[in-house]
Amino acid sequence: MIISLLAVIALGILAWMGSMMGFQYVLAVCLPYTAVIVFLVGFAWRIIDWAKRPVPFSIPTTGGQQKSLPWIKPATLDNPSNSKGVWGRMILEVLMFRSLFRNTNVSIEGDRVVYWSSKFLWLFALIFHYSFLIIFVRHFRFFAEPVPFFVNAIEMFDGILQIGAPRLYMTGPLILVALAYLIGRRLFNQKVRYISLLSDYFPLFLIFGLCATGVAMRYFLKVDIATVKVFVMSLLHFAPDTAALAKIGSIFYVHMFFLTVLLMYFPFSKLMHAGGVFLSPTRNMANDTRMKLHVNPWNPEKVYRTYEEYENEFRVPMFEAGLPVVKKPEDKE
């Protein structure tokens, strides 16, 4: 935990010092291009790698009544028997995190073991992911001129409380609170802490740093976003505008550096659950083993010997021994 926290702080200081010491071009031009390539190629490579793996057994997780006799009601979403159910389950899993909704917490009350429903992980995970999505979409105001219409619409809803100026976007504090919960859960829940590794803490701290610098840049340290847009658009036109770059404050470099690290880290980390969820055999298979035979793709080709082939080989001796044959030998017809 400490190592990953220190690592993220070190990355922040590195970017801040780099921007002071004349490495602006490396931080804001070379690294972002590299990061985008690493992210897109790495993501595609991981997905294709997973798609090449055979699934030996039909292993959907089941959380309800299997399709059975017609008068027993099946759980079509928790125990899908066809691809329609699988689609429904997958869509709800990706959009609503149904499996986290099932999270329970066990405790010993007196001399009894009690299982509680525990919805906080689900709630804060949902807040985090949707805030991240909205923040990501909001950033498209820097990526296109004129600004796409959906950016204005989403900003309107995000800032609908009309608190302060620059207007407070709800997703800013929400994502920081949600991240604080997700970090705190790993620190203060002993069972989760026991199984938490550096690769669990690092992305949380990294994204916290990314969001915190973004919030700082918007509300406190104030970067000239008109210039930022000029620079970002020049990056997208593959003609980096170094004159605009020189006018942008250090906090921008820290924010950008956290983003580049995140993009480059993404394909090699647990964050690949973004693509991996679609390729999970426990989620994307139907529980139809009683209707369809699932053949393990790596089984060797089966060598069959049909009765026809057998009789062709032994027809004459079989006939001579008086055994019944389907087809009599040619000379006896």
Partner: protein, 126 residues
Amino acid sequence: MYNSKYVISGLVIFLAVFSYPFWGNLASKDYNGPKLSLPADQKQCIEPVEFMRAEHMTLLNQWRDSALRDGKRVYVASNGATWEASLQKTCMSCHTNKAEFCDTCHLENAVEPYCWTCHVPPKGNE
């Protein structure tokens, strides 16, 4: 590869969305930032330009609160000059055109201040 129909189509959608900033801008012209028209007869705003660029929204927010909630309509600038805390009487007396001043930056950066739900936007000399 298994289920390549779904995997490839999903992957293509993912790559298309995430590379949109690049291919979406292939046809667009170079972007040089907003062109705003500054007042011709004034050289200096009420505060230095760097401060105004970064903090004008905070300043206007404070003006609104102090004028409407506390009744204080006098703003003392950092150089000692006093101004009436009023968007229309002070700011808009020099920046006479919302479309040519405010909107140039705000539209290009998708900022939508809610000043104009109460105030009447000045249209300059039209």
